[in-house]
Symmetry: C2
Subunit: 150 residues, 2 copies
DNA sequence: AAAGATTGAAATTTCAATCTTG
DNA sequence: CAAGATTGAAATTTCAATCTTT
């Protein structure tokens, strides 16, 4: 088990490493696929929460939902605004608060991104569905072994 | 299912999102735990491959093993060298090649990092072992929902 | 003072270009 | 010219400090 990963069975470092490496490999694939429609996981995450919420959200709330620091959302929304996918709207009730509102183009991008995620998910499921749990561990290790060098 | 994630059952965007968010949550926990012993996953990854190899490795080969770009390894090894965990050694046979060699302190750090990973892995397994596959999906979604705001 | 947001700097990774050796 | 490594710049995220409003 795990020979391709360079770990021996005794090396207890292996399982968590393999898991994280596999996750990274999946994420890289998804990021590349999203990049082809001009999105990133971070951007799609914001659009997703705006669509789910059905209304403009304060930046701080977005930070809470996508689990990142507030200052990151400020800059992420800067980029989304530059892309024309969201716009900042001020809150009349609390002038400290600024909300991000998804635009029409943002909605179209969101649909495109969601479609990419669906196909990536189908790909992933196709890869892991037939095998049992022990096999999944092995597959995840293999997934993490793609050699990506510039 | 997946209510805490803000996704409806119809929203096919949910599964892959949940998976990646869960993976990110696990990675964040591990990075924080490693940070307490002065390591990162990237640094531990290099040390691990050097220990597994049992000999100094050319930087390009390290890039292949940890699946990143060569220029990243150059800077990663810069930092490891600054930490005193590895040292650069030149290859007499091919003067283009530079190898990273793990130091004694590097070995000690590696052991400390491996211990952290073992305990993190035990934590993770403790969290997911008792539940079945469907439950795992639910747990992963929950894992990804930790609210982390500055 | 606390909450919401922003700014500027630091850390890490990737990309493009360069330098040295083969 | 190809391979190995490095350098400098760009992208993204976090941290610390600041600014505005409550």
């Amino acid at each position: 088990v795990n020979e391709k990963c360079g770990f021996t069975s005794e090396s207890n470092i292996s399982l968590l490493f393999s898991l994280l490496k596999a996750a990274q490999a999946v994420e890289t694939r998804v990021e590349i696929a999203l990049g082809e429609v001009g999105l990133s996981l971070a951007k799609l995450g914001v659009l997703n929460h705006l669509v789910q919420a059905g209304e403009p959200l304060p930046l701080g709330q977005i930070a809470g939902r996508i689990a990142c620091v507030k200052s990151n959302v400020t800059q992420l929304v800067d980029r989304l605004e530059a892309d024309g996918l969201v716009s900042r709207v001020s809150d009349p009730n609390d002038r400290r608060s600024i909300r991000a509102a998804i635009t029409e183009e943002g909605r179209r991008k969101y649909e495109a991104g969601a479609e990419v995620l669906r196909s990536q998910e189908a790909l992933l499921i196709e890869e892991i569905a037939p095998v049992d749990r022990a096999e999944v561990v092995k597959l995840l290790a293999n997934l993490g072994n793609e050699t990506v060098v510039q």
